[in-house]
Amino acid sequence: MSFFDKLKSGVAEAGNKAKIAVEVNRLKMQNSSKQKEIDQEYQHIGKMVFDSLERESMCSPEQLQPMVDRIVQLQDEIQLNLHQINAIADEKKCTCGHTVPVAARFCPECGHQFIEIEKQEGDV
């Protein structure tokens, strides 16, 4: 391989890495603002419960339901983003919390065997 070929592939690889990093950072930022919104909803719920306790008339679960729904939805979206981050970065997360390459069959930390993920990839 000539010097320029090497340089070219090096630059291409660096560009690819930068692209991945940019996308991962964007998704992480997205998740942190989603988490902030979840915290706001929690606060909202807390305030409603507090007010109702002070008035000594408990608010009904139906009143709290929209906020609960929103929180569940946001949590789902966060999980989806985490999966996407792993997919982009060619990584997956073990149940022990260790991050391993997407092609790994066993976790080097805890020895966990990845079965379900392999199946999922087979489906796609």
Partner: protein
């Protein structure tokens, strides 16, 4: 943020009425980061080369005038990237620009500091925008110019 997104869409339509935009648009990131590279090289060479070579540098950067060209290339690239699906790269360009303004970190005046802070702030605001649901960001990074 939704209003900002609408503004960007309209700006893009306006840009597209110029034929030059169609010619330059595929190179928006090259313009943007190339210009930053030239500006950084300018600062770096002046910082590391001895005084005797400053004349040659001034021929390259001021007489040719590479530095002015790179300033305009940065602005053109920045505006075109802003309205494209590559907008997610623009915050990093703004942060790099702040870095280049401060580089090589000596004789930093108040105007450099204010300029750098403005770019860091703008970059952060834009980063927040690109992470929002309103941003028109294509995940693959390319096929920006269909519309």
């Amino acid at each position: 943020m939704q209003q900002f997104s609408v503004v960007l869409q309209e700006t893009r339509k306006w840009f597209q009425s110029f034929r030059l935009y169609g010619v330059l648009a595929p190179f928006e990131l090259h313009l943007l980061f190339g210009a930053l590279g030239i500006q950084f090289l300018h600062e770096l060479l002046y910082a590391i080369l001895p005084y005797s070579s400053h004349h040659a540098l001034s021929v390259i950067f001021e007489t040719i005038p590479l530095l002015v060209i790179s300033h305009y290339a940065f602005w053109i690239g920045a505006w075109m990237t802003l309205v494209s699906g590559n907008v997610k790269y623009l915050p990093y360009a703004l942060w790099i620009n702040a870095f280049v303004i401060l580089f090589p970190f000596k004789n930093i005046g108040l105007n450099d500091l204010v300029g750098a802070l403005v770019y860091v702030g703008l970059g952060y605001a834009l980063f927040r925008y690109t992470a929002s649901a309103y941003a028109n960001v294509n995940p693959s990074g390319r096929e920006t110019h269909k519309f």
